[in-house]
Symmetry: C2
Subunit: 429 residues, 2 copies
């Protein structure tokens, strides 16, 4: 790589390595939110923020925020953020790369003595991953003002989520104070967690939207019969019905994914599957499937859900044969990136000279919550073989540095009023 | 029902009712082998044998044998048998109906003062159902001399199977003495445990063979990927592969079952099925299926197994996509009924005037073990909706009585030399 970067890959690599060492020793790489290891990570990040010229503080939601004042003083903030917690047996880059990118941008600004108009912040959002409390994005939800109050009473290991937030230094009784209305723009860098950038040998993914996620539980009821004595034609086998449903979902998802160029990212997965009684010599009487469907465009999701219900009703009416019922377990709409920030990122990427493509994020990210209160967008950097949430997760420091450079150049454009310009050209006031 | 029967439905109903009362009180109908309840049942049966003119004894294999001496004195025995143990939450008829049929035949012979040439025996075989020791047909295997010696060391609840056999009064150290070579013919009556006789409104099934049972474990290996970020076309989903295998097995089994008139009973069931990691947002990396295949004719089973291996090898070669491997967990060949006994049963059924049809038994029975040492056959009586191994299991006492009458008339024919006659016509010596 021969580019003349403002940011330094070696410092990015050093941060990532230092944080990787702060893992549960018996199961690398594990630094779950609310654990002593997580607090070790926060201690490292706080020191790194200070060294990068950022003034660290904790907000009521337990987010670690490092700030560098802008020339405008009390103006709005340009924010780069992600999260430093991991899943169990997770990786060294998911979330972490984005926080480290923020640190490196702060250092690069300091190196060059660049002063911004806006305040600049790096935020390590609390508990983006599903933590022991069974929920995700605690910190970014708090900043968006959308953390459900009853979640604070969720319990794990005899402590509530409120206790957990207090442990990391947050103020659960004053949660409303975490809500922000002073963010000029939010940027997040993240590893792709998929194989596309590597396969296409591109430096950067410019994320157009975070896909909506709908989870559908399907229950199939058949009849338990003796596997030896019940003729094939006289059965009501819940497993063969469920197998047909799995095949249908896969076919339909592939059909929708095949038109992604016009209809956006689509995927559907049956991730959970079990049968009853699950005995060698008994025809299965029951099957439960949990479908995880993701769509960049809400209309695609609506179409899939309508088709699914129609298919199940027509194919498994239950008169003598198996019946199937569905329940929508959760249903989150897609979050589009801000078009002005998106355009600014693409300008910056062209200026830096990295190859890039637009793509949707199939996974959820803190960005989705910031998008509720500010113009927000994110970039993906390539990772090895698309592996993520596993110890093999890997991204090259040089690849992260390229993405970081694009964010820095985006930031400078935004600071100089790129959003206002865009609004002007776009006819927005 | 207006037939003039030698046997009495009321006495059959009374025995079944009396045994039904000897159940674990909190989960009717449960009388598992080796439990105190089972011994209560044995106490009842021993008294009932004596009352029916049978001399009870326990053999080394823990079988309860009631004998009525024949005129020939030390000659061979005609045996009617089944089992009095149940599965957990089982029924009142599975096995029990066959033991009670034997008792009623003894009573009918006594009522009419009929003396047989042969000795006559009713055998309550020990532990036909899978007991707490995880294996089945303990007693009938002992009589056939095929109980594996190492099974005696199997443990459950801190006791060995040898201890269990001793508990019921058997002599595990002298197991060889249970082996019989003096059985002239073995007859078993059993509920069908399937829906065919009821659907066709027939009184009796004349069992041509006990189907062979082959259990095949199929393991599918794919790759765990993020359900949100991995495009549909880039996956190696073990569940969609396993679902296709389930569908293939069902289709192939239905095709073979459709030609049952010429190729015999065939059924295949995927009874056990699980996936890993079984997490909502992860593409399944692994699936395990357990196939239970049953065939009246060995050639059909061989054909199915060959087809299955060819299908899996062709469809899941594993190059990038999922791979599938099979392991034969168990493989028992079919047991045909003795043709002479079968023909005699059909003559008797015609004489009694019951409607009957030939059919295979999809389930295993004690008869399969007796068939190794003696001419053996069995009959099925209809049961309600084919339900079995469940509390709803039901057969009408009148239906059992008709089957019992046929067995009695078969026995009288066999006693008068029907087997010799058949051998003569058949050209056998």
């Amino acid at each position: 790589m021969n580019r003349n970067l403002t940011v330094r890959p070696d410092r990015i690599a050093a941060d990532i390595e230092a944080l990787a060492r702060l893992t549960e020793p018996d199961r690398p790489w594990t630094r779950r939110a609310f654990t002593p290891r997580f607090l070790d990570g926060r201690t490292y990040l706080e020191a790194a923020m200070r060294a990068a010229g950022l003034e660290p503080r904790l907000d009521a939601g337990g987010n670690l925020i490092g700030r560098r004042k802008g020339r405008a003083g009390s103006g709005k903030a340009l924010v780069v953020g992600s999260h430093s917690d991991t899943v169990p047996d997770g990786g060294r880059f998911d979330g972490i790369a984005g926080v480290v990118a923020g640190l490196e941008i702060a250092r690069a600004l300091a190196d060059r003595g660049i002063e911004l108009e806006h305040n600049f912040e790096v935020i390590d959002c609390l508990a983006e991953e599903v933590s022991l409390y069974g929920v995700s994005c605690i910190g970014s939800r708090a900043i968006a003002g959308t953390l459900p109050a009853d979640w604070l009473r969720r319990e794990a290991d005899g402590r509530t989520l409120a206790d957990g937030i207090a442990t990391v230094g947050g103020a659960p009784s004053d949660l409303a104070s975490a809500r922000r209305d002073d963010i000029a723009a939010f940027l997040e860098l993240h590893i792709e967690q998929g194989p596309i950038l590597q396969a296409e040998a591109r430096n950067l993914g410019v994320v157009t939207a975070i896909a909506g996620i709908t989870r559908i539980e399907i229950e199939v009821h058949g009849r338990a019969d003796h596997a030896g004595t019940t003729p094939m034609h006289a059965r009501s086998d819940a497993l063969t019905a469920a197998a047909a449903i799995v095949a249908w979902i896969d076919l339909m998802a592939k059909a929708r994914a095949a038109t992604a160029a016009t209809t956006g990212h689509f995927a559907a997965t049956v991730g959970e599957f079990r049968i009853e009684p699950n005995a060698a010599n008994v025809v299965p009487s029951y099957a439960r499937l949990l479908v995880d469907a993701r769509a960049e465009k809400r209309a695609e999701m609506e179409g899939f859900l309508t088709d699914l219900d129609a298919y199940l009703a027509a194919t498994f009416p239950g008169a003598g044969g198996p019946s199937a019922t569905t329940r929508r377990v959760s249903d989150n709409h897609p979050t589009p990136s801000d078009p002005a920030v998106l355009a600014t990122i693409e300008e910056a990427a062209d200026a830096v000279g990295v190859s890039h493509r637009r793509m949707a994020s199939g996974a959820g990210h803190d960005m989705a919550w910031f998008a509720r209160i500010a113009p927000a967008a994110m970039v993906f950097v390539p990772c090895r073989d698309g592996r993520s949430h596993c110890p093999e997760e890997w991204a090259e420091p040089e690849a992260i540095a390229l993405g970081t450079e694009v964010l820095l150049q985006t930031l400078l454009r935004l600071d100089r009023g790129a959003l206002d310009e865009f609004a002007h050209h776009d006819g927005r006031s």
